[in-house]
Protein backbone atom coordinates (compact mmCIF):
# COMPACT_ATOMS: atom_id res chain seq x y z
CA UNK A 1 0.00 0.00 0.00
CA UNK A 2 1.26 3.47 -0.80
CA UNK A 3 2.42 5.62 2.04
CA UNK A 4 0.60 8.74 3.21
CA UNK A 5 2.25 12.03 2.32
CA UNK A 6 1.94 14.64 5.07
CA UNK A 7 2.89 18.31 4.91
CA UNK A 8 3.17 20.11 8.22
CA UNK A 9 5.07 22.76 10.16
CA UNK A 10 7.44 21.71 12.92
CA UNK A 11 9.08 24.33 15.14
CA UNK A 12 8.15 26.98 12.57
CA UNK A 13 9.91 25.13 9.72
CA UNK A 14 7.96 23.50 6.91
CA UNK A 15 8.28 19.71 7.04
CA UNK A 16 6.98 16.82 5.03
CA UNK A 17 7.18 13.09 5.47
CA UNK A 18 5.75 9.76 4.33
CA UNK A 19 4.06 7.52 6.88
CA UNK A 20 1.89 4.45 7.29
CA UNK A 21 -1.65 4.87 8.65
CA UNK A 22 -0.65 3.21 11.93
CA UNK A 23 2.42 5.37 12.56
CA UNK A 24 2.04 7.75 15.47
CA UNK A 25 3.30 11.31 15.42
CA UNK A 26 5.90 10.16 17.96
CA UNK A 27 7.13 7.40 15.60
CA UNK A 28 7.59 9.92 12.80
CA UNK A 29 9.19 12.60 14.96
CA UNK A 30 11.76 10.19 16.36
CA UNK A 31 12.38 7.66 13.58
CA UNK A 32 11.70 9.58 10.36
CA UNK A 33 12.48 13.19 11.23
CA UNK A 34 15.17 12.31 13.81
CA UNK A 35 13.72 14.67 16.38
CA UNK A 36 14.35 12.39 19.34
CA UNK A 37 13.67 14.92 22.11
CA UNK A 38 10.15 13.61 22.66
CA UNK A 39 10.55 10.28 24.44
CA UNK A 40 8.45 7.16 24.40
CA UNK A 41 7.67 6.14 27.97
CA UNK A 42 4.38 4.26 28.13
CA UNK A 43 3.03 4.63 24.59
CA UNK A 44 -0.49 4.93 25.99
CA UNK A 45 -0.82 8.57 27.00
CA UNK A 46 -0.16 8.06 30.70
CA UNK A 47 3.39 9.36 31.21
CA UNK A 48 3.66 12.56 29.17
CA UNK A 49 7.27 11.94 28.06
CA UNK A 50 6.23 12.50 24.43
CA UNK A 51 4.45 15.82 25.08
CA UNK A 52 4.39 18.21 22.12
CA UNK A 53 1.97 20.93 21.10
CA UNK A 54 -0.33 20.44 18.12
CA UNK A 55 -1.81 23.72 16.86
CA UNK A 56 -0.88 25.16 20.25
CA UNK A 57 -2.61 22.42 22.24
CA UNK A 58 -0.59 20.17 24.56
CA UNK A 59 -0.92 16.51 23.50
CA UNK A 60 0.88 13.19 23.80
CA UNK A 61 2.56 12.50 20.45
CA UNK A 62 1.99 8.77 21.06
CA UNK A 63 -1.78 9.36 20.96
CA UNK A 64 -1.76 11.26 17.67
CA UNK A 65 -1.50 9.52 14.29
CA UNK A 66 1.12 11.01 12.02
CA UNK A 67 -1.46 11.16 9.22
CA UNK A 68 -3.60 13.47 11.38
CA UNK A 69 -1.10 16.34 11.40
CA UNK A 70 -1.54 17.31 7.73
CA UNK A 71 -1.56 21.10 7.67
CA UNK A 72 -1.01 21.36 11.43
CA UNK A 73 1.59 23.25 13.42
CA UNK A 74 3.70 21.17 15.78
CA UNK A 75 6.13 22.42 18.40
CA UNK A 76 8.60 20.10 20.09
CA UNK A 77 11.38 20.47 22.66
CA UNK A 78 13.86 20.96 19.79
CA UNK A 79 12.26 24.36 19.13
CA UNK A 80 12.40 25.58 22.71
CA UNK A 81 15.84 27.17 22.95
CA UNK A 82 16.99 29.96 20.67
CA UNK A 83 20.12 28.24 19.36
CA UNK A 84 22.55 28.06 22.25
CA UNK A 85 20.38 30.36 24.36
CA UNK A 86 18.25 28.25 26.63
CA UNK A 87 14.63 29.13 27.37
CA UNK A 88 14.07 30.48 30.90
CA UNK A 89 12.36 27.22 31.83
CA UNK A 90 15.40 25.23 30.69
CA UNK A 91 17.74 27.49 32.67
CA UNK A 92 15.58 27.15 35.78
CA UNK A 93 15.47 23.37 35.48
CA UNK A 94 19.29 23.35 35.54
CA UNK A 95 19.46 25.89 38.36
CA UNK A 96 16.99 23.94 40.54
CA UNK A 97 18.41 20.52 39.57
CA UNK A 98 14.90 19.63 38.45
CA UNK A 99 16.05 16.55 36.57
CA UNK A 100 18.06 13.44 37.20
CA UNK A 101 17.87 10.83 34.45
CA UNK A 102 16.27 13.34 32.08
CA UNK A 103 13.83 11.06 30.26
CA UNK A 104 10.76 13.00 31.43
CA UNK A 105 12.40 16.42 31.10
CA UNK A 106 11.59 17.32 27.47
CA UNK A 107 7.92 16.48 28.02
CA UNK A 108 7.77 18.43 31.25
CA UNK A 109 9.44 21.46 29.68
CA UNK A 110 7.01 21.44 26.73
CA UNK A 111 4.06 21.01 29.09
CA UNK A 112 5.29 23.78 31.40
CA UNK A 113 5.78 26.17 28.51
CA UNK A 114 2.20 25.48 27.39
CA UNK A 115 0.96 26.17 30.93
CA UNK A 116 2.79 29.49 31.25
CA UNK A 117 1.48 30.62 27.89
CA UNK A 118 -2.07 29.98 29.07
CA UNK A 119 -1.55 31.03 32.68
CA UNK A 120 1.56 33.20 33.32
CA UNK A 121 0.91 33.33 37.07
CA UNK A 122 -0.12 29.83 38.21
CA UNK A 123 -0.39 28.73 41.82
CA UNK A 124 1.67 25.76 42.93
CA UNK A 125 -1.50 23.64 42.88
CA UNK A 126 -2.23 24.71 39.32
CA UNK A 127 1.28 23.72 38.25
CA UNK A 128 0.95 20.33 39.95
CA UNK A 129 -2.46 19.68 38.40
CA UNK A 130 -1.33 20.75 34.92
CA UNK A 131 1.74 18.47 35.12
CA UNK A 132 -0.15 15.50 36.62
CA UNK A 133 0.15 13.73 33.26
CA UNK A 134 3.95 14.02 33.26
CA UNK A 135 5.47 11.26 35.33
CA UNK A 136 8.95 11.55 36.83
CA UNK A 137 10.46 8.60 38.67
CA UNK A 138 13.57 10.43 39.93
CA UNK A 139 12.97 13.85 41.41
CA UNK A 140 9.92 13.55 43.60
CA UNK A 141 8.52 16.56 41.68
CA UNK A 142 9.27 19.34 44.20
CA UNK A 143 12.29 20.60 42.30
CA UNK A 144 10.33 20.55 39.05
CA UNK A 145 7.49 22.55 40.58
CA UNK A 146 9.96 25.02 42.12
CA UNK A 147 11.71 25.46 38.77
CA UNK A 148 8.43 26.14 36.97
CA UNK A 149 7.26 28.61 39.63
CA UNK A 150 10.61 30.39 39.51
CA UNK A 151 10.57 30.49 35.70
CA UNK A 152 7.02 31.85 35.75
CA UNK A 153 8.07 34.63 38.11
CA UNK A 154 11.07 35.53 35.97
CA UNK A 155 8.99 35.46 32.79
CA UNK A 156 6.52 37.86 34.39
CA UNK A 157 9.44 40.20 34.93
CA UNK A 158 9.04 40.22 38.70
CA UNK A 159 12.65 39.38 39.40
Amino acid sequence: MSKIHVTTTINNDPAEFLCEAEDTLLDVLRDTLRLSGAKEGCGSGDCGACSVTLDGRLVCACLVLAAEVEGAKIDTIEGMSDGENLHILQKKFLEHAALQCGICTPGILVASKALLKKNPDPTESEVRLWLAGNLCRCTGYDKIINAVMDAAAEMRGLE
Binding site: M1, S44, G48, R57, L58, C60, E68, A132, G133
Partner: protein, 288 residues
Protein backbone atom coordinates in the same frame (compact mmCIF):
# COMPACT_ATOMS: atom_id res chain seq x y z
CA UNK B 1 -4.89 -0.25 7.91
CA UNK B 2 -5.94 2.81 5.93
CA UNK B 3 -6.60 6.36 7.18
CA UNK B 4 -9.11 8.75 5.69
CA UNK B 5 -10.40 12.19 6.68
CA UNK B 6 -13.73 12.87 4.96
CA UNK B 7 -15.10 16.42 4.86
CA UNK B 8 -18.82 15.59 5.13
CA UNK B 9 -20.92 13.36 7.39
CA UNK B 10 -22.47 11.76 4.28
CA UNK B 11 -19.03 10.63 3.14
CA UNK B 12 -18.23 9.33 6.62
CA UNK B 13 -21.51 7.40 6.76
CA UNK B 14 -20.78 5.82 3.35
CA UNK B 15 -17.29 4.82 4.38
CA UNK B 16 -18.52 3.37 7.67
CA UNK B 17 -21.43 1.53 6.02
CA UNK B 18 -19.26 0.06 3.29
CA UNK B 19 -16.78 -1.30 5.86
CA UNK B 20 -19.22 -2.59 8.51
CA UNK B 21 -16.73 -4.72 10.42
CA UNK B 22 -13.46 -3.07 9.67
CA UNK B 23 -13.92 0.67 10.11
CA UNK B 24 -13.59 2.79 13.23
CA UNK B 25 -14.35 6.45 13.83
CA UNK B 26 -11.38 8.54 15.00
CA UNK B 27 -12.00 11.80 16.86
CA UNK B 28 -9.62 12.41 19.80
CA UNK B 29 -8.10 8.95 19.59
CA UNK B 30 -7.26 8.76 23.29
CA UNK B 31 -9.04 5.41 23.65
CA UNK B 32 -8.77 4.27 20.03
CA UNK B 33 -4.99 4.59 19.72
CA UNK B 34 -4.46 2.78 23.03
CA UNK B 35 -6.69 -0.08 21.84
CA UNK B 36 -4.93 -0.20 18.47
CA UNK B 37 -1.54 -0.44 20.10
CA UNK B 38 -2.68 -3.09 22.57
CA UNK B 39 -4.06 -5.15 19.68
CA UNK B 40 -7.58 -5.06 21.16
CA UNK B 41 -8.90 -3.77 17.82
CA UNK B 42 -7.49 -4.15 14.31
CA UNK B 43 -9.66 -2.05 11.97
CA UNK B 44 -9.03 -1.97 8.25
CA UNK B 45 -10.02 1.69 8.00
CA UNK B 46 -9.85 4.70 10.35
CA UNK B 47 -12.29 7.51 9.58
CA UNK B 48 -11.05 10.79 11.07
CA UNK B 49 -14.11 12.99 11.63
CA UNK B 50 -12.22 16.13 12.71
CA UNK B 51 -12.36 17.67 9.23
CA UNK B 52 -16.13 17.42 8.92
CA UNK B 53 -17.74 20.84 8.95
CA UNK B 54 -19.28 21.71 12.32
CA UNK B 55 -18.01 18.74 14.29
CA UNK B 56 -15.43 20.89 16.10
CA UNK B 57 -17.99 23.56 16.99
CA UNK B 58 -20.07 24.40 20.04
CA UNK B 59 -23.23 26.22 18.92
CA UNK B 60 -26.25 27.63 20.76
CA UNK B 61 -29.48 25.77 20.02
CA UNK B 62 -32.89 26.44 21.59
CA UNK B 63 -31.33 27.87 24.72
CA UNK B 64 -28.98 24.91 25.04
CA UNK B 65 -25.65 24.03 23.45
CA UNK B 66 -24.80 21.56 20.73
CA UNK B 67 -21.33 20.09 21.26
CA UNK B 68 -19.70 18.66 18.12
CA UNK B 69 -18.31 15.14 18.37
CA UNK B 70 -14.75 16.33 17.74
CA UNK B 71 -14.73 19.11 20.40
CA UNK B 72 -11.93 18.33 22.87
CA UNK B 73 -12.25 18.40 26.64
CA UNK B 74 -9.94 21.42 26.74
CA UNK B 75 -12.07 23.31 24.21
CA UNK B 76 -15.23 22.52 26.17
CA UNK B 77 -13.54 23.63 29.40
CA UNK B 78 -12.57 26.96 27.85
CA UNK B 79 -16.12 27.63 26.61
CA UNK B 80 -17.59 30.18 29.01
CA UNK B 81 -21.20 29.63 27.95
CA UNK B 82 -20.88 25.86 28.49
CA UNK B 83 -19.36 26.40 31.93
CA UNK B 84 -22.17 28.75 32.86
CA UNK B 85 -24.98 26.57 31.50
CA UNK B 86 -23.89 23.08 32.59
CA UNK B 87 -21.01 23.44 35.07
CA UNK B 88 -21.40 19.82 36.20
CA UNK B 89 -21.01 18.44 32.69
CA UNK B 90 -17.96 20.61 32.04
CA UNK B 91 -16.28 19.73 35.35
CA UNK B 92 -16.89 16.04 34.61
CA UNK B 93 -15.47 16.31 31.09
CA UNK B 94 -12.41 18.07 32.48
CA UNK B 95 -11.68 15.06 34.69
CA UNK B 96 -11.01 12.82 31.68
CA UNK B 97 -7.27 12.04 31.71
CA UNK B 98 -4.38 14.47 31.94
CA UNK B 99 -3.85 17.92 30.41
CA UNK B 100 -2.39 16.14 27.37
CA UNK B 101 -5.43 13.85 27.08
CA UNK B 102 -7.74 16.86 27.53
CA UNK B 103 -6.19 18.34 24.39
CA UNK B 104 -7.67 15.47 22.38
CA UNK B 105 -10.39 13.55 24.26
CA UNK B 106 -14.08 14.12 23.49
CA UNK B 107 -17.28 13.56 25.48
CA UNK B 108 -18.69 11.56 22.56
CA UNK B 109 -15.67 9.26 22.66
CA UNK B 110 -16.01 8.97 26.43
CA UNK B 111 -19.64 7.95 25.88
CA UNK B 112 -19.04 5.48 23.01
CA UNK B 113 -16.09 3.83 24.77
CA UNK B 114 -18.75 2.72 27.27
CA UNK B 115 -16.57 2.41 30.34
CA UNK B 116 -18.73 2.16 33.49
CA UNK B 117 -16.31 4.67 35.06
CA UNK B 118 -16.48 7.27 32.27
CA UNK B 119 -16.51 10.66 34.01
CA UNK B 120 -18.56 12.74 31.59
CA UNK B 121 -21.35 10.17 31.22
CA UNK B 122 -23.17 10.41 34.60
CA UNK B 123 -23.04 14.20 34.32
CA UNK B 124 -24.50 14.09 30.80
CA UNK B 125 -27.21 11.65 31.86
CA UNK B 126 -28.12 13.86 34.83
CA UNK B 127 -28.27 16.81 32.43
CA UNK B 128 -30.67 14.95 30.13
CA UNK B 129 -28.23 15.30 27.24
CA UNK B 130 -29.28 14.00 23.81
CA UNK B 131 -26.91 12.34 21.34
CA UNK B 132 -27.46 12.92 17.62
CA UNK B 133 -26.74 9.67 15.80
CA UNK B 134 -26.19 9.50 12.05
CA UNK B 135 -26.20 6.36 9.96
CA UNK B 136 -27.27 4.77 6.69
CA UNK B 137 -30.94 5.48 7.53
CA UNK B 138 -30.43 9.15 8.30
CA UNK B 139 -30.12 10.81 11.68
CA UNK B 140 -31.90 10.15 14.95
CA UNK B 141 -31.77 11.57 18.47
CA UNK B 142 -31.09 9.30 21.42
CA UNK B 143 -30.87 9.89 25.18
CA UNK B 144 -27.21 9.70 26.20
CA UNK B 145 -28.02 7.04 28.81
CA UNK B 146 -29.15 4.64 26.08
CA UNK B 147 -25.78 4.61 24.33
CA UNK B 148 -23.73 2.42 26.74
CA UNK B 149 -25.19 -1.10 27.05
CA UNK B 150 -22.34 -3.01 28.74
CA UNK B 151 -18.70 -2.34 29.65
CA UNK B 152 -17.00 -1.54 26.34
CA UNK B 153 -20.19 -1.95 24.29
CA UNK B 154 -22.57 0.67 22.93
CA UNK B 155 -25.98 0.54 21.27
CA UNK B 156 -24.95 2.12 17.96
CA UNK B 157 -25.99 0.01 14.96
CA UNK B 158 -23.44 -0.90 12.27
CA UNK B 159 -22.70 2.16 10.18
CA UNK B 160 -23.84 4.62 12.84
CA UNK B 161 -21.83 7.24 14.70
CA UNK B 162 -22.59 10.22 16.95
CA UNK B 163 -22.09 13.66 15.43
CA UNK B 164 -22.98 15.83 18.44
CA UNK B 165 -24.42 16.05 21.93
CA UNK B 166 -27.17 18.51 22.81
CA UNK B 167 -27.00 19.94 26.31
CA UNK B 168 -30.55 21.22 26.76
CA UNK B 169 -31.67 24.69 27.80
CA UNK B 170 -31.69 25.44 31.48
CA UNK B 171 -34.45 27.13 33.42
CA UNK B 172 -33.92 29.60 36.24
CA UNK B 173 -32.80 28.42 39.68
CA UNK B 174 -31.34 25.22 38.30
CA UNK B 175 -27.84 23.79 38.08
CA UNK B 176 -25.76 20.63 38.19
CA UNK B 177 -22.61 19.13 39.69
CA UNK B 178 -20.43 16.06 39.32
CA UNK B 179 -18.13 14.39 41.85
CA UNK B 180 -16.04 11.23 41.72
CA UNK B 181 -13.90 9.38 44.24
CA UNK B 182 -10.30 8.54 43.33
CA UNK B 183 -7.50 7.55 45.74
CA UNK B 184 -5.16 10.23 44.38
CA UNK B 185 -5.84 13.89 43.71
CA UNK B 186 -5.87 13.87 39.92
CA UNK B 187 -5.66 11.77 36.77
CA UNK B 188 -7.26 8.53 37.85
CA UNK B 189 -10.24 6.34 37.06
CA UNK B 190 -13.40 6.86 39.13
CA UNK B 191 -13.95 4.29 41.88
CA UNK B 192 -17.51 5.60 41.92
CA UNK B 193 -19.13 8.86 40.90
CA UNK B 194 -22.34 10.88 40.96
CA UNK B 195 -23.89 13.56 38.77
CA UNK B 196 -26.83 15.60 40.06
CA UNK B 197 -28.93 18.11 38.16
CA UNK B 198 -31.73 19.93 39.95
CA UNK B 199 -34.18 22.79 39.76
CA UNK B 200 -35.43 24.82 42.71
CA UNK B 201 -38.50 27.02 43.06
CA UNK B 202 -38.29 30.59 44.35
CA UNK B 203 -38.41 29.46 47.97
CA UNK B 204 -35.51 27.03 47.47
CA UNK B 205 -37.55 23.84 47.31
CA UNK B 206 -36.36 21.25 44.82
CA UNK B 207 -39.01 20.76 42.14
CA UNK B 208 -37.11 18.58 39.68
CA UNK B 209 -33.97 16.44 39.90
CA UNK B 210 -31.95 13.85 38.02
CA UNK B 211 -29.33 11.73 39.78
CA UNK B 212 -26.94 9.55 37.75
CA UNK B 213 -24.29 7.24 39.19
CA UNK B 214 -21.08 5.94 37.63
CA UNK B 215 -18.90 2.86 38.27
CA UNK B 216 -21.46 1.15 40.52
CA UNK B 217 -23.04 -0.99 37.77
CA UNK B 218 -22.10 -2.24 34.28
CA UNK B 219 -23.49 0.99 32.83
CA UNK B 220 -24.38 4.43 34.13
CA UNK B 221 -27.46 4.40 36.40
CA UNK B 222 -30.21 7.03 36.36
CA UNK B 223 -31.79 6.59 39.79
CA UNK B 224 -35.36 7.85 39.96
CA UNK B 225 -35.75 7.03 43.67
CA UNK B 226 -32.72 9.21 44.37
CA UNK B 227 -34.29 12.12 42.48
CA UNK B 228 -37.59 11.54 44.34
CA UNK B 229 -35.72 11.82 47.64
CA UNK B 230 -34.76 15.40 46.73
CA UNK B 231 -37.98 16.61 45.11
CA UNK B 232 -40.22 18.56 47.49
CA UNK B 233 -37.42 19.21 49.97
CA UNK B 234 -34.86 21.95 50.65
CA UNK B 235 -32.17 19.23 50.61
CA UNK B 236 -32.32 19.02 54.39
CA UNK B 237 -30.45 16.29 56.25
CA UNK B 238 -33.31 13.81 56.08
CA UNK B 239 -33.67 14.27 52.32
CA UNK B 240 -29.94 13.84 51.82
CA UNK B 241 -29.99 10.65 53.92
CA UNK B 242 -32.84 9.34 51.75
CA UNK B 243 -30.83 10.27 48.65
CA UNK B 244 -27.76 8.36 49.85
CA UNK B 245 -29.94 5.41 50.77
CA UNK B 246 -31.59 5.34 47.33
CA UNK B 247 -28.17 5.50 45.66
CA UNK B 248 -26.89 2.60 47.77
CA UNK B 249 -30.01 0.57 46.99
CA UNK B 250 -29.64 1.12 43.26
CA UNK B 251 -25.92 0.34 43.17
CA UNK B 252 -24.70 -3.08 42.07
CA UNK B 253 -20.94 -2.61 41.91
CA UNK B 254 -18.12 -5.13 41.59
CA UNK B 255 -15.10 -5.75 43.82
CA UNK B 256 -11.90 -4.89 42.03
CA UNK B 257 -8.46 -3.42 42.67
CA UNK B 258 -9.92 0.06 42.82
CA UNK B 259 -12.65 -0.54 45.40
CA UNK B 260 -14.86 -3.04 47.15
CA UNK B 261 -18.61 -3.46 46.83
CA UNK B 262 -19.09 -2.08 50.36
CA UNK B 263 -16.88 0.93 49.74
CA UNK B 264 -18.49 1.86 46.43
CA UNK B 265 -22.03 1.40 47.76
CA UNK B 266 -21.41 3.71 50.70
CA UNK B 267 -19.25 6.32 49.00
CA UNK B 268 -21.52 6.76 45.97
CA UNK B 269 -24.25 8.03 48.33
CA UNK B 270 -21.84 10.46 49.98
CA UNK B 271 -20.82 11.79 46.55
CA UNK B 272 -24.46 12.18 45.51
CA UNK B 273 -25.20 14.16 48.70
CA UNK B 274 -22.23 16.47 48.17
CA UNK B 275 -22.97 16.90 44.45
CA UNK B 276 -26.60 17.75 45.27
CA UNK B 277 -25.47 20.46 47.69
CA UNK B 278 -23.05 21.91 45.14
CA UNK B 279 -25.79 21.90 42.48
CA UNK B 280 -28.12 23.63 44.95
CA UNK B 281 -25.57 26.32 45.79
CA UNK B 282 -25.02 26.91 42.07
CA UNK B 283 -28.75 27.05 41.42
CA UNK B 284 -29.05 29.71 44.12
CA UNK B 285 -26.21 31.65 42.53
CA UNK B 286 -24.06 31.27 45.64
CA UNK B 287 -21.16 29.71 43.77
CA UNK B 288 -20.10 28.99 40.21
Amino acid sequence: MRYTAPSTTAEAVNLLASNPDGARILAGGTDLLVQLRAGIIAPELLIDIKHINGLRDIVAEDGGLRIGAAVSGAELGEHEAARALWPGVVEAAELIGSTQVQGRCTIVGNLCNASPAADSVPAMVAAGAIARVIGPNGSRDCAVGEIPVAPGRNSLAPGEFITSILLPARVEHASDAYLRFIPRTEMDIAVCSAGVSLKLDKSGICVAARVALGAVAPTVLLVEEAADALIGTTLDEAALADLANACAQASAPIDDKRGTVEFRTEVVGVLAKRAALIAKARALGETS
